[in-house]
Symmetry: C2
Subunit: 175 residues, 2 copies
Amino acid sequence: MAEEVTRVMVAVNESSIKGYPHPSISSKGAFDWTINKIVRDNVSAFNLLFLHVQVPDEDGFDDMDSIFASPDDFKNMNQRDRIRGVHLLEYFINRCHEIGVVCQAWIMHGDPKEVICHEVKRLRPDLLVVGSRGLGPFQKVFVGTVSEFCWKHAECPVISIKRKPDETPQDPVDD
Amino acid sequence: MAEEVTRVMVAVNESSIKGYPHPSISSKGAFDWTINKIVRDNVSAFNLLFLHVQVPDEDGFDDMDSIFASPDDFKNMNQRDRIRGVHLLEYFINRCHEIGVVCQAWIMHGDPKEVICHEVKRLRPDLLVVGSRGLGPFQKVFVGTVSEFCWKHAECPVISIKRKPDETPQDPVDD
């Protein structure tokens, strides 16, 4: 049967709810699903690749508190974003380490859907897993969905894992 | 980790090219991918559920040869369809048996995309795998795609496995 490991790319992002770089509900759901339903106890047969795409404009909702007065302020902001991204990836790497599955993780900047498809092209994983908020058609018009774009354009099979209804926050656009 | 087996539903159909009930190129590709990339050698952790949906009007392209003169002619046709469907499922069941993965298979009638989503609702698999011809947007307008409908409407995660470019027949609508 298959000789090489199955390489699963998981696109992860921060929660829009909490103040600290926790993973979003849908990222966490996508990861848990991948481990529980696909990897299971066959940990040596899979590699996980965690990609976090930071969106410069939307990343820190506490930018409201920022006053930019000098180039250093921007430098500090970039530094803070970097730290938040690293913390996020640390969560997933720690989980993989506990489970015993080999992984790697990295941060990119740009439009998540474009960057994810570009990284799929570059790294050729066997499978891309993305979380989805499971929004209705009306909400999608305004917020767009990364998962739908990736499903259509990524050059590998894509699984989109919808958030469980009981985990949906009060505002379903939050995650 | 996960205690229960992972139940993977695979939607399969006949080839439109050959005269005998061989699986379509994309069904075979979806099955091979599932075994090689997901199940691997962890065969006791997965159950495969093969669903074949027969479309009464499109099923036998050799209906051109059929002359219907009595109710028995329809009965014979139904009987022939049944045999073709059983042969198709036999291929996948034999493959699973060789590999050592538990499976079951059944035939339904109707519009494949609707029936597949209905069966997902009824049986609640962990994952639905469908083959896809990987048609372009222009071709899709005329032939529709089961995979896209299922991805949007099935109440479980869906993977669509695109046919490999080197397996695409002369007419890409064929499969």
